[in-house]
Symmetry: C2
Subunit: 321 residues, 2 copies
């Protein structure tokens, strides 16, 4: 064996430092509230570990060996770093520097993230968001630690995930303002007949209102399919087409298109999910709280659809930006 790597605890190093500082075993013991024999025993262990006398008697008192002084200098740094490491993390948004991963899709990127980003740039400029498309794999991304937070109209049954409802979304029908259907509330019959642009979101996902329509025995008059609701206004303007999109998406086209309530009632619950891995991390707690607050009032945290776990409410900043 080349050399037996010794084990010591940080308290021993603190004792060593104190003895070095005070130049006395007895006074160190007194300061620490221990018996002198205890300090003596601790030093015996240190001597063993470092294979050096560390302190030698010199007349009245003791004198550190050169090696001892080296060790004390190094040990001081170790202690400082350890104590910093062990200190409770008081998270300060203003100075924190870290990356947080968010899985979501177009909808959340358009409706939730812009507000979050504005607050972050102002209050926590050191937090970097890494947003990835969740498609239908959001849960797996969470468990594989590819992201820390999953946002979306997802339903996770399994245990081991935390959930917080953000808000409920419903659908509106949008169309060219000249479209006759825009002049009055839309009835179901007209809605079914109207030529629609259907958003399929790729990956075989089917919008909730389509599922509801089907259940009720209706088929939409599909004139066109697109993978994303982005720039839907550009498509619709000047045509007789209508599109059924989440209300908050419709608001991003505001002014350019007319919107009316969708006669097929379908609510989409938008939730936030995370795992125990980040549950107790101060920055994550803070960001989740921010997301919940920014998203609306219906804040409510549940784990496994059982234990409620209300997070600290984020105090929304009243400063203007």
């Amino acid at each position: 064996m080349p050399f037996e790597l010794p084990n010591l605890d940080f308290a021993s190093l603190r004792t060593l430092r104190l003895v070095h500082e005070l130049g006395s075993f007895s006074r160190a013991a007194e300061t620490l509230g221990l018996a002198q024999s205890t300090v003596s025993y601790t030093l015996a262990r240190l001597r063993e570990a470092f294979d050096d006398p560390l302190f030698v008697r010199q007349g009245q008192g003791i004198v550190p060996t050169t090696r001892c002084s080296e060790i004390v200098a190094q040990a001081g740094e170790l202690l400082d770093r350890f104590e910093e490491l062990a200190a409770p993390r008081d998270f300060e948004p203003a100075v924190a520097s870290l990356e947080i991963g968010i899985s979501c899709n177009y909808y959340e990127r358009v409706t939730i993230l812009p507000q979050i980003v504005r607050v972050l740039r102002c209050e926590a400029p050191g937090i970097r968001l890494k947003v990835i498309s969740s498609t239908v794999q959001g849960k797996g991304q969470l468990t594989r630690s590819q992201s820390d937070i999953l946002l979306g109209a997802v339903q996770i049954q399994e245990a081991g995930y935390f959930r917080r409802s953000l808000f409920k979304e419903d659908y509106v029908c949008i169309m060219d303002p000249q479209n006759p259907l825009a002049q009055a509330p839309l009835d179901l019959e007209s809605f079914v007949r109207a030529p629609q642009v259907i958003v399929n979101y790729g990956d075989g996902y089917r919008a909730r209102f389509l599922v509801e329509m089907e259940t009720a025995g209706y088929q939409p008059n599909t004139a066109m399919e697109v993978p994303s609701p982005a720039s839907m206004d550009r498509i619709l303007l000047g045509t007789d087409l209508i599109a059924t999109v989440p209300r908050r998406i419709a608001q991003t086209y505001q002014g350019d298109v007319a919107s009316v309530a969708c006669p097929v009632s379908a609510e989409i619950p938008i939730d936030m999910f995370w795992t125990a891995r980040t549950h107790s991390s101060a920055p994550h707690v803070w960001l989740r709280s921010l997301i919940a607050t920014v998203s609306g009032r219906e804040a409510e945290s549940l784990q496994d659809a059982r234990s409620s776990d209300t997070e600290d409410t984020h105090a929304f900043p009243d400063q203007s930006f």
Copy 2:
């Protein structure tokens, strides 16, 4: 109390690191040759110390919290530094960097140090010598850690000092080569009569041969007193003066002055002293060994004039320089 600073040992941090690496308590226990419950208990202590779950269950196995990964990264550095600190110091002259303090006077600076410096520059260029004048305070300088090594014709009776004899020195009389006294061995009567330059070394120190003369009832014919034997040749040349100086000092004037044996026999033992503080330090051991080897053959180490402590003999380099 603001926060209880926790105590941990380095073995716990190693366990943490291993669990993080292997992703399993059981496998870490197996690797360490411990029971799984032991690792579990160690993690309970770590969780307490860091106030964080550190690892959370995730299906099959466990996943580290974000805080845990931070801690492991930091702890890894702490462990590396600690292990480096605890590793046996294998002293390598070629790369060692440190300062060693030497107390001595003119005699040793002229006779011993030049050879030491040449070896150091060649073999241990990182060792910086800090030479201070010992005058008559050499012992105090040692005990106050103002120097690490004391060289000189000193006699320390007290315990607690290590000593190694370097060599014995005797006196020669030097003079202008034209001086009639230089032509034959000097007899005591001529010596006492001859006009001398007496070196008083300041500080009331009296050369050994003067003490011997006095004991024998003679007084030198003092023509002049100087504080140091430096440049004595410049003083003597062209005069009828003689000076009595240690033989190795006389050799530094070689060629310029004539020297004959001093009829008053007086041996000066030149010793090296140090304390327990540096006794076990590898670089100091090495340097002391070098000094002893360079100084002559009579190497012999004694503590308290009792316990002999022969140091490693320094293998004098046979390379030319």
